[in-house]
Structures are given as C-alpha cells and as structure tokens.
C-alpha cells in the first residue's frame, strides 16, 4: 500500500512536471491577432526630381494572425483608405487622390492580402501576397521582422507605380517622379 502510494505520487510529480514544461513554450507561442491601429503605420518613400519624399496613409485597417511558432500559418490583410494619403506636401496630397493618381473616388481602397508566410531564420520572415491598388493586382513579397516581446511587425518592399497606373498621362514620366516606391509598414499587435 505504501509503495503504491509512493509510486502514484512520483507519477503525479512527473506528469505535473511534464505538463509544466509543455505549457511554458505554449504560453510564449501566442497568436498575435490584435492590431493596435494607433501604434501602427503604413508609409512610403518616393523620389521626385532626385529628392526623397516621405508619405503615409492615415487610415487603414490591418488584420493579422501570426504565431511565431507556426509562421507559415500566419495571415495578414491590410485595407488602406487611399483618400487618407499624406504625400509629403499639401499640394502633392491634394493631387494624388485625383484620377491620374489613386483615383480615390473610383477606387477608395488599396489592399494587401497575404497568401503565405515563410520563416527566413531568426526574427526575419517573408509574406507573399497580392497587392491591389486602383483595381490592379500584383504579387508582392514583403520581408519583415517580428519582435515577439513588443509585438511589432516591421517591413518594407518596393513597388513600381507604373504597374498600378499611379500617375498617368503627364505624370507617367519616371524622370519627374520615379517609378520605384518604397512601401514601409509598422504593425503593432498584441495577443489575447
């Protein structure tokens, strides 16, 4: 009877310990799916007459689901209100919502939808997905880093404005506004 009690106690202790060790990484590998809009940014840099200009979108809706333990299952969707653009100067901001640029009246939203996420080692990852602007879609690859301590996703990628007909007619001259636009994002997320 005594030995049996001892055996049961040992068993319980071993089980308890293994449950504890299993539970520890599970707590770390939380799924980050609560985007903090106020702390997040979607910005861009473009070159005008050889001069780097910074712009950003003030209104966007980002939803994501990312577990660093299972990065390949991660998903992200970002919907951008293109009329909320700040192109770096009042004059440019007023201009770019117009028909030859974003045509915000006809295409109020730009969006990114991920199709897959790859781990690149360390805290580096890569999201593949479809970027749709002005009704035109392109596949893009967005490398990013993720900091599990702060829940910050930071990344950037380069698009060609010509692929999306951003800047048509007289603005199609890449000698004035360069074709390459660097898109930068900082998404701040929390887990439940």
């Amino acid at each position: 009877m005594k030995t049996s009690t001892l055996r049961q106690a040992t068993l319980a202790a071993v089980l308890g310990l293994s449950v504890f060790t299993l539970a520890a990484p599970a707590a770390q590998a939380a799924t980050f799916d609560q985007v903090k809009a106020d702390a997040s940014r979607v910005a861009f840099t473009y070159r005008q007459m050889g001069v780097a200009m910074d712009g950003k979108f003030n209104k966007f809706d980002a939803r994501l689901n990312f577990d660093p333990a299972k990065p390949e299952a991660g998903q992200a969707t970002v919907d951008i209100d293109v009329a909320s653009v700040d192109a770096g100067s009042d004059e440019a901001t007023a201009e770019v919502t117009g028909k030859t640029w974003f045509d915000a009246a006809k295409h109020p939203k730009a969006s990114f939808k991920s199709s897959s996420v790859k781990a690149l080692g360390g805290n580096r990852y890569e999201a593949l997905g479809t970027l749709t602007i002005k009704g035109r879609s392109q596949n893009v690859t967005a490398p990013f880093t993720f900091d599990p301590a702060s829940g910050a996703f930071d990344g950037s990628f380069v698009i060609k404005r010509g692929d999306f007909a951003i800047g048509e007619g007289e603005w199609a001259d890449f000698g004035i506004v360069a074709n390459e636009i660097q898109v930068k994002f900082h998404l701040q997320a929390a887990h439940k």
Binding site: M49, G50, V51, M53, E91
Partner: protein, 185 residues
C-alpha cells in the same frame, strides 16, 4: 600690381567682372523663374522649374562665396572723388546690402525648402543637408521671408543699375565701364 595708385586700381579684375555679371544674370533669371513658377498649378513642369530654381539659386550662393573671397583679397577701384560723401555712403551701403542678400536669399530658400519637407539636391546629385526639419509653420514663415528678401533684392538691384546708368550718362564717369567686360583700362 600694375596700376595700384594711391586711389587703387582703375578697373575691377577680370574675375570680379565675370562673377559680377554671372551673378547678375543668375539673379535676374532665378527671380523671374521664381515669380513664374509660383503662379503655376502642380504639374511635372512645375516640379522641374522648382528644382532648376533651387539648383541655380545654390549655384549663385557658391558664386557669391567665391566673389566674397575674391573681394576680400582684391582691393576694388575707389568711387570718384567728385561724389558727395553722402552719395559715397549710399553706394557703399547698397553694395553691403547686395552682398548680404546674395547669401540671405538663397539661404532662406534652402531653409524654406527643408522646412517644407523638400531636401535640396543640387543638380539632382548632391544632397544638401536639411538645416531645419520639416515644420509647416516654419515653412510658411520662411516662404514669406524668402519673398520679402527677394523684393528687397529686386529694389536694391534696380537702384544699383539706375545708379550705374546715372554715373555713365549723367556724371559721365567710369563707374559703369570699369565693371564692363572687354573695355580697356
């Protein structure tokens, strides 16, 4: 050191003459361009003209530096002794104002551009540092400053040119010709 008489040289040096007229052409051209470009609505042409205006303005700034350095090392011809003291004072003051504005006008434009969020990249190649960071209020203040300094410069240049013509046609002295290229001393 050929004609360094007690009254100084009779003519400006070839370098001083070249810098004077290059800067004069630059100021007239850039001022006119500035008036024109600010009247345009946004277009690729407007962006081009703004860039050219800035590039040319910085070029004048550099030429003005060279000119000041040259001026400090080379004594200019003196004003005619027949000029009343008050007129000499007026002429010398106007020259000091012109020197100050040759620096202040491009400098205010450079600062304004930075404050408005546009770095100045000389000829699209050489980025000049942003001495102030982007700030809408400061940008508007510097825009007003740049405009007023330009009107002051325009008024002083017109006065300077009228004075030179008065010397030439009314006083019939050599004040204009000693700054003209080609003429013999």
């Amino acid at each position: 050191m050929n004609s360094l008489a007690p009254h100084g040289p009779a003519r400006y040096t070839r370098t001083a003459i070249s810098l004077h007229w290059l800067i004069a052409l630059g100021i007239i051209g850039i001022f006119s361009l500035g008036l024109y470009m600010t009247s345009l609505s946004l277009s690729p042409t407007k962006l081009k003209l703004y860039s050219w205006h800035k590039w040319a303005g910085i070029t004048v700034f550099v030429l003005a530096l060279a000119r000041l350095a040259w001026r400090l090392g080379h004594r200019p011809p003196e004003l005619p002794a027949s000029m009343p003291a008050l007129m000499q004072l007026a002429a010398n003051s106007a020259h000091v104002v012109l020197y100050i504005l040759m620096f202040a006008v491009p400098l205010s434009g450079w600062l304004m551009s930075s404050a408005k969020g546009f770095q100045t990249v000389w000829f699209g190649v050489l980025p000049l540092p942003d001495l102030v960071s982007k700030n809408a209020e400061l940008g508007d203040l510097l825009a007003t400053t740049h405009a007023w300094l330009n009107w002051l410069l325009a008024a002083t240049v017109v006065g300077h040119a009228c004075a030179a013509l008065k010397h030439h046609f009314i006083d019939r002295d050599d004040v204009l010709t000693r700054m003209l290229p080609g003429a013999k001393a």
